[in-house]
C-alpha cells in the first residue's frame, strides 16, 4: 500500500476560501516537506518540518510524528495558489524522500 497517502487527490475552491490538505504515513516519518508544483513542472519548497508546526503567510503546516500525519492549511486562497501540492516524508535518516501522490488544487475567481 501507499507509504504516504495524500488526500484529497483534487480540490476546487473559490478564491478567498480556506482549505486543508493531509498526508498520512504508514512509515515512521522523521521529517516532512511540502512542495507546490506549478503547471510547468517546477517544484517550489513550501515547508520543511520536524514534528511541530510552521506558518508562512497564508500557509500553515503541522507534522505529528506520533499520529503519523501532516497537514497543510491554506487560508484566503488566491488564484496563484493553484497547482499540485506534494508532501514527501523521510524515514530513518537515509536521505530518501517518499512522495505522496499529490493534491491538484484549482482556485476559481
Amino acid at each position: 500500500g501507499d507509504k504516504v497517502k495524500q488526500s484529497p487527490s483534487a480540490l476546487s475552491l473559490q478564491e478567498g476560501t480556506n482549505s486543508a490538505l493531509r498526508c498520512n504515513f504508514s512509515i515512521a516519518a522523521t521529517t516532512v516537506q511540502w512542495f507546490l508544483q506549478n503547471p510547468r513542472g517546477s517544484l517550489m519548497n513550501l515547508f520543511y518540518l520536524v514534528p511541530g508546526t510552521k506558518e508562512n503567510g497564508r500557509l500553515k503546516s503541522a507534522f505529528d510524528s506520533k499520529e503519523s500525519y501532516s497537514t497543510l492549511h491554506i487560508r484566503d486562497a488566491q488564484l496563484e495558489d493553484s497547482g499540485t501540492y506534494f508532501c514527501a516524508a523521510e524515514a530513518d535518516s537515509n536521505y530518501q524522500l517518499i512522495w505522496g501522490s499529490g493534491t491538484k488544487l484549482i482556485i476559481k475567481p
Binding site: T31, Q33, F35, G41, S42, N45, Y95, Q96, L97, S101
Partner: protein
C-alpha cells in the same frame, strides 16, 4: 537564496539515442544530490542518490549503465539517459539537500520526450 538550476529545461530525442542533463546548486552547500523522475502519471521515482563521502547509490529499477551520473562536487551533477526509449519519458528532477537545515531544494526539471 538557495537555488538549483537544471539544463536543458526540455529536450526531445529519437528512440535509441542518448541525452545529458545538468544540475547545479547555487547559494548553499549541498550535503546530497538526488535525481528523481516524475512519470506522466505524476509519481516520483528516485533514480540515484549521492551523499558526502559516499558512492552514488542507484535504486532498484535504475542502473549506472543506463543512467550514468557524474558529480565532481555536490554543487554540480550531470546525468545521461543512454539509449532512451518511450518508458524513459518524464520530468527529471534534481534535488540538493542543504547542509544544516536539511531541506531539499529542487531544480525546475528537464522534460524528456522520446520520439
Amino acid at each position: 537564496g538557495a537555488l538549483v538550476y537544471q539544463y536543458p529545461r526540455r529536450t526531445i530525442c529519437k528512440s535509441g539515442t542518448s541525452m545529458r542533463m545538468e544540475c547545479q546548486a547555487v547559494g548553499f552547500q549541498a550535503t546530497s544530490v538526488a535525481w528523481y523522475r516524475q512519470s506522466p502519471q505524476k509519481t516520483f521515482e528516485l533514480i540515484a542518490l549521492s551523499t558526502v563521502n559516499s558512492a552514488i547509490k542507484y535504486e532498484q529499477n535504475f542502473t549506472q549503465e543506463k543512467f550514468p551520473i557524474s558529480h565532481p562536487n555536490l554543487s554540480f551533477s550531470s546525468m545521461t539517459v543512454l539509449n532512451a526509449y518511450l518508458e524513459d519519458r518524464g520530468l527529471y528532477l534534481c534535488g540538493a539537500r542543504r547542509a544544516l537545515s536539511y531541506e531539499q531544494y529542487f531544480g525546475p526539471g528537464t522534460r524528456l520526450t522520446v520520439l
